[in-house]
C-alpha cells in the first residue's frame, strides 16, 4: 500500500529525513514511532504529497506521489498534525467541501458526510461552527475528513496529540475500529499508543529508520542482554566469580542491607541470550556455594527498546 524508497528531505539547514525505506502492506496497522523532531511529520507529508522529497521516491497504492500525485492522493485520507480546519464553516459544510474536493459524486456526498460524521462520532456537532469546537472535537473532525471519501489508506499524524486522557482513549478506540477496514499508518511519540493499536512499528530517529517489525520482533530484536542477581556473598567475591562465566561482559555490583546482600547486573556479550547467561551464572554461583536470593533475565519493554534505539543513534552521531 505504501512503498517508500530512499526517501530524503533536506531543508537546506537540516536534513529531516535520510534515505528512509519501508513498506506498509494492505490491511496493516503500522505505528510510526520516534521522538519529537525525528522526521515523522516530514515523512508523512512527503507520503501525502504535501512536500516533495529531495531524493528517493514513494508510491501510494501503486501511484507515485510525484508523477501520479492526484491518483496517489485519491487513495489516501490524511490527517495533518493538529488538524487545521476552516473556523468559519460549520462542521457539515466543511466536510461537504472536503468530500467535493475529494471527488465524491454530488449524489453520494450527503451520505458520505453522514457516514464520516457518525464514524468519527461528531454527528452531534454537525451544525456547530468549527471555530467553536474543542480540541478533541476538532481532532475528530480531522478524522472524519480523512474518512469522508472512504479511502483504502489512512495516514494519521499524531492523532492523539494535545488531547486529555479521556479523549485519547476515545480516539484510540476509534482508530482500532478503523483498523478493521483500512490500512493505517499513524505517527506518535507515545509508546502505549503503538502497543494498544498497532500490529507493526517503524522506529525512526534523526531521520533514519532504526528498527522495524512487529512489536514482539522489536522486543526480541533488542532482547535484554543482562541478568540481575541478588546473592549473599562478600563484596567482590560474587563479582569475580561472575566475570569468569562464559558470555558475561561487564558486571556491576552494589551492596545491599549492610553488606550482607549484593545486587549484581551481568551484561551479556552480544549474541548471547540473557536466559542462557542466567543459567550459567546460577551454575557458577551454585558450584561456589554462594546462596542466590533472586535471579532474573531483564526483558526489555518497548520503552527500553525505544530508548536503546534512539539513544544508541544519538551516541553514534555524537
Amino acid at each position: 500500500m505504501i512503498v517508500a524508497e530512499e526517501l530524503t528531505k533536506d531543508y537546506g539547514t537540516v536534513v529531516a529525513v535520510r534515505s528512509l525505506s519501508f513498506q506498509v502492506g494492505r490491511g496493516e496497522v503500522v505505528g510510526f514511532l520516534g521522538p519529537n523532531g525525528a522526521g515523522k511529520s516530514t515523512t508523512l507529508r512527503m507520503l501525502a504529497g504535501f512536500l516533495g522529497p529531495t531524493s528517493g521516491r514513494a508510491r501510494i497504492n501503486g501511484f507515485d506521489v510525484l508523477d501520479d500525485s492526484i491518483r496517489a492522493r485519491r487513495s489516501l485520507g490524511y490527517m495533518p498534525e493538529s488538524s487545521p480546519l476552516y473556523g468559519e464553516l460549520r462542521v457539515r459544510e466543511y466536510l461537504e467541501f472536503r468530500a467535493a474536493l475529494k471527488q465524491v459524486p454530488g449524489r453520494e456526498r450527503r451520505r458520505a458526510v453522514d457516514r464520516a460524521l457518525s464514524l468519527a462520532a461528531v454527528a452531534d456537532m454537525a451544525e456547530v461552527l468549527v471555530r467553536h469546537l474543542s480540541k478533541g472535537y476538532r481532532q475528530r473532525v480531522g478524522l472524519a475528513d480523512a474518512l469522508v471519501a472512504s479511502p483504502p489508506l489512512l495516514i494519521l499524524d499524531e492523532p492523539t496529540a494535545g488531547l486529555d486522557p479521556n479523549q485519547i482513549r476515545e480516539v484510540r478506540k476509534l482508530v482500532r475500529a478503523l483498523a478493521e477496514e483500512h490500512t493505517l499508518l499513524l505517527s506518535t511519540h507515545i509508546l502505549p499508543e503503538v502497543e494498544s493499536v498497532c500490529s507493526r512499528a517503524l522506529v525512526i530517529h534523526r531521520g533514519r529508520l532504526v528498527a522495524q517489525g512487529t512489536l514482539d520482533e522489536l522486543r526480541a530484536q533488542r532482547r535484554a542482554r543482562s541478568v540481575q542477581l541478588v546473592v549473599r556473598a562478600a563484596a567482590g567475591r560474587a563479582k569475580s566469580l561472575l566475570e569468569r562465566v562464559e558470555g558475561a561482559a561487564a558486571v556491576r555490583e552494589r551492596a545491599l542491607e549492610g553488606g550482607e546482600l549484593v545486587r549484581l547486573v551481568v551484561d551479556a556479550v552480544s549474541g548471547v541470550d540473557a536466559g542462557e547467561l542466567a543459567e550459567r551464572a546460577l551454575l557458577a554461583l551454585h558450584e561456589a556455594s554462594v546462596p542466590v536470593r533472586e535471579a532474573r533475565p531483564v526483558t526489555a519493554t518497548l520503552e527500553d527498546v525505544f530508548a536503546e534505539l534512539t539513544g544508541a543513534e544519538r551516541e553514534a552521531a555524537a
Binding site: Y11, R45, A48, G49, F50, L51, G52, I70, R71, R73, R74, Y78, P80, S82, S83, P84, L85, Y86, G87, E88, L89, E93, F97, R98, A100, L101, K102, Q103, G142, D145
Partner: protein, 249 residues
C-alpha cells in the same frame, strides 16, 4: 483542474460569512455613492453640458475616486486567499486532497472576481436612477462596466499573487496596493513625458485613468483589453508556480 469547483464554492462562502467582505462592500459603496452624488449635484447645477459629459462618463471616466476605491477594495478582497491558508495551516489539508495547484489558484481567483462583481452590482441602481430621470446611453454603460471588470480582474490577479508570496495578510495587502499604485503612477507618466516619445506611449497604454476615460465614452480599444488580460494571466501563472514551489520548501 480537479477540485476547482469545490475550491471556488468554499472560497465564495468563506469570503461572505466573514465580516471582511461586508466591511469592504460598505466602504466601497460609500465612496462610490458619495462620488456619484457629488457628480450628479455638480452636473445639475451646470448651465450647459457637452455631448459626452453625462454623469455616467464623469463617474466612470473622470473620477479619481473610482481608481482609489479599487486600490483598497481589490487588495482587501484578495489578501487572505492564500496567505491565511498558510498561516493557519489549512493549506496542508487543501494540498493533500486530490487537487492541482492551478485549480486552487484559479478557484480562489474566480471567487474573488465573483465577489468583486457582486460588490459592483448595487451600483447598477445608479444607472436605473438616471434612466428614470433622463436618458442613458447603454453602450457607454456597457463599455464602462467592461472597463471596471477588466481593471478589477487584473488587480485581483496581482492580489492573489501577492497573497501567495507571504503568510501575512497585511503584507499581501500592502504589497498589492503598492504594485497597483505603481501602475497608477506609471499611467500618469502619460502627462509627464514628451509627446511622441516611447515612454509616453508605454505610460498611456498602462494608464488606468486613460483607460477608464476612454471606456466611459464608449470607446473599447483592443489594446486595453490585451493589457488587462496580460495583467490577469501573468500574475495567476506566477501564483500557480509559487503554490507548486511550496512543496519544495
Amino acid at each position: 483542474m480537479t477540485g476547482f469547483a469545490a475550491v471556488y464554492r468554499r472560497e465564495v462562502l468563506s469570503l461572505w460569512v466573514t465580516p471582511l467582505a461586508w466591511v469592504l462592500l460598505t466602504v466601497f459603496l460609500l465612496i462610490q455613492g458619495m462620488s456619484f452624488f457629488t457628480i450628479v449635484l455638480h452636473l445639475s447645477n451646470a448651465a450647459q453640458l457637452a455631448v459626452d459629459a453625462g454623469p455616467i462618463q464623469s463617474w466612470f471616466g473622470q473620477s479619481i475616486f473610482l481608481v482609489l476605491a479599487l486600490l483598497v477594495l481589490c487588495p482587501g478582497v484578495t489578501m487572505r486567499v492564500l496567505a491565511e491558508e498558510r498561516k493557519s495551516g489549512t493549506i496542508e489539508a487543501l494540498l493533500t486532497a486530490p487537487v492541482t495547484p492551478a485549480a486552487v489558484v484559479l478557484g480562489k481567483y474566480l471567487a474573488t472576481l465573483t465577489t468583486y462583481v457582486a460588490m459592483w452590482a448595487p451600483t447598477l441602481l445608479y444607472v436605473v436612477i438616471l434612466r428614470n430621470t433622463g436618458q442613458v446611453d447603454w453602450p457607454v454603460v456597457g463599455a464602462s462596466y467592461l472597463g471596471v471588470l477588466g481593471t478589477g480582474a487584473g488587480y485581483l490577479a496581482v492580489g492573489v499573487l501577492a497573497s501567495s508570496m507571504t503568510e501575512s495578510q497585511l503584507v499581501a495587502l500592502v504589497m498589492t496596493a503598492l504594485v497597483l499604485l505603481g501602475l497608477l503612477i506609471l499611467g500618469i507618466g502619460e502627462y509627464v513625458f514628451e509627446p511622441d516619445s516611447i515612454l509616453r506611449e508605454v505610460c498611456a497604454t498602462v494608464s488606468v485613468l486613460s483607460k477608464m476615460e476612454e471606456m466611459s465614452r464608449g470607446v473599447v480599444d483592443l489594446r486595453r483589453l490585451v493589457f488587462d488580460s496580460t495583467l490577469v494571466a501573468l500574475p495567476l501563472f506566477m501564483a500557480v508556480r509559487v503554490v507548486e514551489s511550496w512543496r519544495w520548501g
